[in-house]
Amino acid sequence: MARVSDGARGDDLNRAVRAAQAGDEESFRLLYRDVQPRLLRYARALIADDSDAEDVTSEAWLQIARDLPSFRGDIDGFRGWCATITRHRTLDLLRRRKRRPVADLPMDDLIGTAAEFDTADLALDGLSTEAALRLIAELPRDQAEAVLLRAVLGLDAKRAGLVLGKRAGAVRTAAHRGLRRLAARLAETAPPAGSGTLPVPGRDGVIGSGAEEVR
C-alpha cells in the first residue's frame, strides 16, 4: 500500500515534516491528518477497545508534538517514529490492563472481543475500512502488527522491523502468514466463482490516501 513518499503527495508531506519541525502549525495539522488515522487503526487492532485506543493515540501525539524538533527523517521515517511511540504506549496500556483485577475489566474484555466477526457481512457491504480492520485484528498479534505497519502505516519491511524490534525478514514472514490467513478468511466469504461483486477499477486512487478526502 503505497509508501506515500512516492509522488507529489509524498513531497508535500516531506516538506510538512520539515515545516512542522520549524513550528508551522498548518504543516503539523497536515501530518496529523495523514498519520493519526493510521495510528488509531493500528492501536485499535491491538487494544480492541476504541476509547482506550483513542486515549493511547492522544497521548502519543502529546509526545510527538513535544519531541518533534529532535526527530530526523522524512515522512516515512516520521510514520515509523509515530508508530513506535504509539506502540510503546499501547503495550504500556496492555500491561497495566493485565495487572488490573479481573473484576474491573469491561465486559467486552471478559467475553473476548474476538467474538468471531461474521464474515458474511463482508460480502454485503463490500470491504469497508471497518470490516477489513476487524479481520486483521483477528490475526495473531505479531501478524496483525506486521500487516498493519506495512499496509496501513505504509512502512517497508525494514522500517516496520525497527518499530517492532525485529529484522526485516521476520516482519516479512509475519506479514506473509497474516496475509495467508486473511486470504483464507476471504475465501470463506467469497461468493462462488467469479461473481465479480467487487469492482476493481480506481483502486489505486483509494489506496493509502488518508487525509485528503476528509477536509
Binding site: 512542522a20 477489513a132 479481520l135 506495512r150 496501513v152 495467508r180
Partner: protein, 198 residues
C-alpha cells in the same frame, strides 16, 4: 482469486502491486481507506499541544546547556583518569592495594570507559585459566582500573625509580591500546594486554 499468496506475492502486494492478489489488495485498500472524521477528533488537542510546546523556548537552551555541562564533566573525568594513571605510575599505589584506591576517582568516568572496555573485552580471547574472577572484576569496575591493574609490573619498576615513569606509563597505555587488536590473532598470553587483563 482467494488463493493463499506465496511469500513473493505477499511482498509484491505489500509494496503496492494490487494485481499480485486482487482480493487481498481490495481488503488492504479498505484497511488503509480514507480517514473518517471520528478518527480525527483529537486534532485540536494535538495542535494545542504543538502550540504550547513551542512557547517555552528556554527548554532548548536548557538542553544545550546540559549537553555542554556533560561535555565539561566528561573532560574533567578524563583529566581525573589521567591523574589516576599518574598516581599509579608514581608508585603511590603498592601492588597489592591496587584495587582499593583505584576505582574511586575514575568511577565518575565509568560510562565512557565502560563502553570502550566492553567493546574490547570480548575481542581478547579468554586465557586458559578460569576466566570468571577476572571477568567479574572487569564488570564491576571496568576501564579505569587498567592503569592500577598491573600489580606486579609497576611495583617492580618502582625499585628502579626512573623519573620519567609517569610519562612512560601513559605511553604504555597508548601502546597497549594499539596492541590490543593484535592480541586477537597472536598468542594472547604473551601480549602485555593479555597479561594485564588477568
Amino acid at each position: 482469486m482467494n488463493d493463499p499468496p506465496d511469500r513473493r506475492t505477499a511482498e509484491r502486494l505489500l509494496r503496492g502491486d494490487a494485481a499480485a492478489h486482487p482480493a487481498l489488495a481490495e481488503m488492504l485498500a479498505g484497511a488503509a481507506g480514507p480517514a473518517r472524521p471520528a478518527e480525527l477528533a483529537g486534532e485540536d488537542a494535538a495542535v494545542a499541544a504543538f502550540r504550547t510546546r513551542r512557547e517555552p523556548r528556554p527548554r532548548i537552551q536548557h538542553r544545550t546547556l546540559t549537553r555542554l555541562l556533560t561535555v565539561k564533566a566528561l573532560l574533567a573525568v578524563l583529566a581525573l583518569g589521567g591523574g589516576a594513571a599518574l598516581a599509579g605510575g608514581s608508585g603511590h599505589l603498592p601492588g597489592h592495594q591496587g584495587p582499593h584506591p583505584g576505582p574511586r576517582p575514575p568511577r565518575i568516568g565509568t560510562p565512557p570507559d565502560e563502553s570502550s572496555d566492553r567493546a574490547t573485552l570480548p575481542a581478547v580471547p579468554s586465557p586458559p585459566s578460569p576466566p570468571s574472577p577476572s571477568q567479574g572484576r572487569h564488570a564491576s569496575s571496568p576501564g579505569p582500573r587498567n592503569p592500577t591493574h598491573r600489580p606486579s609490573k609497576p611495583s617492580k619498576r618502582k625499585k628502579n625509580g626512573k623519573p620519567e615513569r609517569a610519562e612512560k606509563s601513559k605511553k604504555r597505555k597508548k601502546a597497549k591500546k594499539a596492541r590490543k587488536p593484535k592480541s586477537r590473532h597472536g598468542g594472547p598470553n604473551r601480549s602485555p594486554a593479555g597479561r594485564a587483563r588477568r
